[in-house]
Amino acid sequence: MLSYLVFALITAGIYGILALSLNLIWGAAGMVNLGLVGFFAVGAYASALLTTLTGMPIWLGLICSMAVGALVGVAATSATLRLRGDYLAIVTLGFAEVVRLVALNERWLTKGADGISGIPRPFAGLLNPAQFQIFYMVLVLAIMIVAFLLLRRIDRSPFGRVLKAIREDQELASFAGKRIVRFKMIAFALSAALAGLAGGLYAHFQSYISPDHFQSLLTIYIFLAVTAGGVGRPAGAVLGAFLVVGFLEGARFIAHIIPGISAVQAASVREMMVGLALILILQFRAQGVLPEQRLPAPKR
C-alpha cells in the first residue's frame, strides 16, 4: 500500500512537471501543444540512450534531455510559430506521431518495440528497491517544486506578462513593440525542455522504456490536469496533476468493480471517463480549481 502511494506520488510529480510545461505554453502564451507526449518521449530516450551507451552520469543525462527537448521542439515548430494557433496544434500532433514512428522503427538507435532496458537508476547500488522509491519520490517532487517556483517567478515577471499579452491580443502586443515570434519561441523552448526533463525522470525511474510508454493519451491527461487545476496559473497546474492522478486511480478502481466487463472494456471505461471529465470541466469550470489571478490594471 505504501509503495503504491509512493508510486502514485512519483507519477503525480512527473505529471506535475508536464503540467507546468503545458501551462507555460498554453496557459500563459495561449499556444496549444498537442504533442506533449512527443517531447516527453524525446527527453526519455535522450537521457536513456546517453546514460546507457556513453556511461554519462544521470544528472548530465537529465540536463541533456532538457536540451534535446528544447532543440527538437523549436526545430519542429518554428515554421508555425508565426501562424495562427490551430496550425501549431496540428504540427505538434504530427510531431508526436513522428517521434513514435522513429522510436518504433530505428532499431539501431532505440531497439524498436523491444525498448531500452537497463537504464541506470540513481544510487542503485546503495538503496534497496523500497528506499529507492522513496528517494526518487523526494527527488521528483523536489524538482517539481523548483520548476514550480521558477515558473511562478516567470509568470509574475515582465516576460510572463508579455506572454499573456500575446495570448490576449497578439496584434496589440506586436503594436506595443514586442517581438512576438521571439517570445513565442523562447516560451516553447522552455516548455519543451521541461517536458523533456519529465521524460528523463520517467526513464530513470522505470529503468525501461519502449514506444508503448508514450501513448498520446498522456497528452490528454495533462490537458485535463491543467484545465482542472486552473489554466494560466502554475499552482493550478501542479494541483491539477495531483487531482488527475487521483482521478485516474479512482477511475481504475471504478472500472474494476463494474461487474461482467472484460479487461479491455474496463480500460475503455477509464479512458471514456478521462474524455468526459475534460469536456465537462471545459463546459462548467473552464477556469479550474485555482483560477488565474488577474492583476488589476495599474492606476495612472
Binding site: A79, I220, V269, G275, L278
Partner: protein, 286 residues
C-alpha cells in the same frame, strides 16, 4: 518507370478516398472556424456502422455507405450540440481541445462495444486486373468511383441547394449572411452533419481496403489534416487537390522509404507548406 506509374496510380486511388474526410474537415473549418479533431473518431464510427450493417444485416456497399454517413453525422451533431457548441465563445483552440476529448470518449465507446480486434468487411475476394504491367484491384477501382460520385454530390449540394449556398455564404461572410436572415445555428448544424458524415464515409471506404479497429480513424487524422492544410484550410477544391497530392506522395515514398514511415509524410508536407506557403495551394479562407 512501371513502379513509379504504379505508385502514382495507387496514390490517386488512395488520395481520392482521403479527399472525402478532408473535404468534410475543411467544410466545417470554413463555416465554424475551428479545427474539429474528432473527425478521426467519427471516421471510425462510420466504418464500424457500415461494418455492422454489412456483416450483421448483410447490407451491400451502397446502403452500408449511407449507414456510415447517417450514423457518423448523427454522432457528429450530438457531439457538436452537447460538447462543442457552448465552447465556441471561448475560442477556436478551446473547441479544438474539447473535440479531442470527445474523440477519446468516442473511440473508447467503440472499443467498449467491439473490442480491439481487427474486423474485415464481408466483400467477395476478386482477382486484381493487370494491364501494361500495372495492377489495379476491382475493389479499389469501385471505391474510387464511389468517391468520385460522392465528391460530385458534395459539389452539387454546395452549388445548387439552398443549404449548400447558405453554407458558402456563411463561410465567405458570416455577418452578411446574417443580414440575409440565414440562421447561423441551423447552417452550423447542417455543416457539421455534412462534414462528420463525410468523415464516416471516408472511414468506411478506407476500411474496405483492409480491416478496421477502434484506432483506425486516429491514424487517418494526420493525412486528413495534411490534405486540408496543403490545399488551403477551408477550401473544398483545395482539400481534393491536397488529398491527391498526399496520396501520391505517400505511395511514392514507399519506393525509397520503409512503409512504416508512410504516415510521417503528412507531417513533412504540413511543415513544408506552412514554412513556404502558409495559406495552402488554393488559399485559405480568412
Amino acid at each position: 518507370m512501371i513502379p513509379l506509374i504504379q505508385a502514382i496510380l495507387n496514390g490517386i486511388m488512395a488520395g481520392s478516398l482521403l479527399a472525402i474526410p478532408a473535404m468534410g474537415l475543411t467544410a466545417m473549418f470554413a463555416v465554424l472556424r475551428y479545427a474539429n479533431f474528432s473527425i478521426g473518431a467519427l471516421a471510425t464510427i462510420g466504418a464500424f456502422a457500415a461494418w455492422y450493417a454489412n456483416t450483421v444485416f448483410g447490407w451491400s456497399e451502397i446502403p452500408a455507405l449511407i449507414a456510415a454517413f447517417v450514423v457518423a453525422a448523427l454522432v457528429g451533431m450530438l457531439v457538436e450540440q452537447l460538447a462543442l457548441k457552448r465552447l465556441r465563445p471561448a475560442g477556436a483552440l478551446t473547441v479544438a481541445i474539447a473535440s479531442i476529448a470527445a474523440s477519446v470518449l468516442l473511440e473508447n465507446v467503440v472499443r467498449f462495444i467491439f473490442g480491439n480486434d481487427l474486423r474485415a468487411f464481408d466483400t467477395p475476394l476478386v482477382r486484381d486486373w493487370f494491364f501494361w504491367g500495372l495492377r489495379v484491384g476491382p475493389q479499389q477501382l469501385q471505391n474510387v468511383i464511389i468517391a468520385v460520385v460522392i465528391m460530385a454530390l458534395v459539389f452539387g449540394f454546395l452549388s445548387l441547394t439552398r443549404y449548400g449556398k447558405a453554407m458558402r455564404a456563411v463561410a465567405d461572410n458570416p455577418d452578411l449572411a446574417r443580414i440575409y436572415r440565414m440562421d447561423p445555428q441551423k447552417i452550423a448544424m447542417a455543416t457539421v452533419a455534412l462534414g462528420t458524415g463525410l468523415a464516416g464515409v471516408g472511414g468506411m471506404l478506407l476500411g474496405l481496403d483492409s480491416a478496421i479497429e477502434p484506432m483506425t480513424g486516429s491514424r487517418l487524422l494526420l493525412p486528413i489534416f495534411a490534405a486540408a492544410v496543403l490545399g488551403g484550410l477551408g477550401s473544398i477544391p483545395g482539400a481534393l487537390l491536397g488529398a491527391l497530392i498526399i496520396g501520391v506522395g505517400e505511395e511514392i515514398s514507399l519506393l525509397f522509404m520503409p512503409a512504416t514511415y508512410r504516415s510521417a509524410i503528412g507531417f513533412v508536407v504540413i511543415l513544408l507548406v506552412l514554412s513556404m506557403r502558409p495559406q495552402g495551394i488554393l488559399g485559405e479562407r480568412r
